[in-house]
């Protein structure tokens, strides 16, 4: 009998954690980690921050050292995967070669949502997801130039902060009436708008892009209002879409992401999935959610590896997120989905540190903490372990 082989498709945060956890959970067979980028798997969050600013090398961002793959006997394979042949238990690679598996994990990630506007294919229009994207942006990001960011979400704002700090003129265009509209309370949106304005960023809301204009190379962005903004280059950050083609073609259930259960199993119990490509029902929030975050990818990967090894582990961790902009560290504990009230500790209209607690029916469900790591940890602990923060007392204190 030959050795069993686990194949992990997708070599980023989820994939790397999955191969690590497979070894920790006792998988003794072969492990192949298939990725379509040639560099060692690297951390993606710093791409819009330190890597864009040229402060760190890709090597420094490696999630694990080269040594790790040797010592843990993990075979990295740079290849694209064409399809999954479930009945044969084989992957068909881009080269036409077949790779058999005994256990399969899909960590195919996500890709940037494309901007649908005239001229969106001009030179100088960028997206930001991979290191190669950032390397192209860096060629354009010369101090004094005009950068236009389409999308006032976390990626857009982090990118704006990095470019502004590098001495570029930066305009942020947000189609909604405030930045971070989908993810935070109006008070938090107003805070980030103020900070970016104080740093010299031109933040425009209700600003939909009508067209990108130039000859071969981009020159300006025309808005639906008819206004135009000078642009030497554009970075589009209007969200990501899960990369699910492979799973869909293999007949797995996909609902805004490859659907996984509490054990990270797909609709085929012999295939697990983890990371940005997945969606899951989260009992804590009573709904199906696609979490876009490294911590969630890591958690799902640990559970997926345990499932492959026949162990009983369930997804339970509290979702959390972070974002760095200028000197600000935003840490978010929990999801604020469905909140009906907020309590703000500190003064976001004036200071550079505060916490916005989100409540539903009087119960705290999440918090946005800006330069308040203590509040973040307290909230994380409270939501995870049920320790109490006295919201009534906090409210009273805030009201004074």
């Amino acid at each position: 009998m030959s050795t069993e082989r686990a194949v992990v498709v997708g070599a980023s945060h989820a994939g790397v954690q999955l191969v690590t956890s497979l070894r920790q959970e006792g998988w003794s067979g072969d492990i192949v980690l298939v990725g379509d980028e040639s560099a060692l798997p690297y951390q993606r969050p710093p791409l819009s921050k330190g890597y864009l600013a040229g402060k760190c090398s890709l090597k420094e961002l490696a999630i694990r050292s080269e040594d790790f793959y040797v010592k843990q006997d993990v075979e990295p394979l740079t290849a694209s995967v064409q399809s999954i042949d479930r009945s044969a238990g084989e992957l068909v690679l881009g080269t036409g070669d077949r790779l058999s598996y005994d256990a399969l994990a899909l960590c195919t990630g996500a890709h940037p949502r494309r901007l649908r506007a005239e001229g969106a294919d001009l030179d100088g229009v960028h997206y930001l997801r991979r290191s190669s994207d950032v390397e192209r942006i860096r060629e354009d990001a010369i101090p004094g130039r005009n950068a236009v960011i389409v999308g006032g979400g976390y990626i857009g704002l982090e990118t704006a902060a990095s470019l502004r700090s590098s001495g570029l003129h930066v305009t942020v265009l947000e189609a909604a009436d405030r930045v971070l509209e989908r993810v935070t309370a109006p008070e938090v949106s107003a805070f980030f708008t103020r900070i970016h304005q104080e740093e010299g960023v031109d933040v425009r809301t209700d600003a939909s892009v009508e067209a990108l204009v130039g000859d071969t190379r981009l020159r300006e962005v025309v808005l639906a209002s008819g206004e135009s903004v000078r642009a030497d280059f554009v970075i589009v950050g209007i969200g990501i879409e899960p990369t699910t083609e492979l799973a869909e073609a293999a007949g797995l259930v996909v609902d805004d992401g490859i659907l996984i259960d509490a054990h990270a199993r797909t609709s085929d119990p012999d295939i697990v999935a983890a990371g940005d490509c997945t969606s899951q029902d989260i009992p804590r929030y009573g709904r199906r959610i696609r979490l876009e975050s490294v911590p969630s990818a890591v958690e799902q990967a640990k559970v997926a590896a345990a499932t492959i090894c026949g162990k009983d582990k369930e997804l339970a961790a509290l979702p959390w997120f972070w974002s760095d902009q200028y000197d600000l560290k935003l840490q978010i504990a929990g999801l604020n989905t469905g909140y009906d009230d907020i309590v703000v500790s500190g003064d976001p209209t004036r200071d550079r540190h505060f916490t916005c607690y989100y409540l539903r029916k009087g119960e705290p469900i999440a918090a946005d903490c800006v330069n308040r790591p203590r509040d973040f940890m307290a909230t994380k602990r409270m939501l995870t372990q049920g320790t109490a923060i006295d919201m009534a007392a906090l409210k009273a204190e805030v009201a004074v």
Binding site: R23, Q24, D67, F68, V294, V298, W322, R374, M377, K380
Partner: protein, 106 residues
């Protein structure tokens, strides 16, 4: 080769080589040490790489900085020599260093 020992909450020992200039968190993750989650990859943003330094080594390794302190202060398993291992740059002269892992990373 200089070696650090990670001691799990239930007494299991894992050794890893100390690579000058790496963070203690990187030493752990590069060697698949169980119990160091390091969700944020070393940004002192998550608090999931908590270790408790053997008190005999505390001065050599150094004490926690203000930002770390904020993250650790809410941790129920916090000890006087607690550190976030992502904030500890290791030296090859630390051969024999032992750190204890908490029961839970939070």
């Amino acid at each position: 080769m200089a070696v650090v020992t990670f001691m799990s909450h239930d007494g299991e020992q894992h050794e890893a080589p100390l690579e000058e200039g790496s963070s203690l968190m990187q030493v752990a993750t590069n060697n698949a040490i169980p119990g160091i989650d390091a969700d944020c990859g070393g940004e002192a943003a998550c608090g999931t790489c908590h270790v408790i330094v053997d008190p005999a080594w505390a001065d050599k390794v150094g004490r926690s900085g203000p930002e770390e302190e904020e993250m650790l202060s809410m941790n129920p398993e916090r000890q006087p020599t607690s550190r976030l291992s992502c904030q500890v740059k290791v030296c090859e002269s630390w051969d024999g260093l032992t750190v204890q892992l908490p029961e839970f990373q939070m």
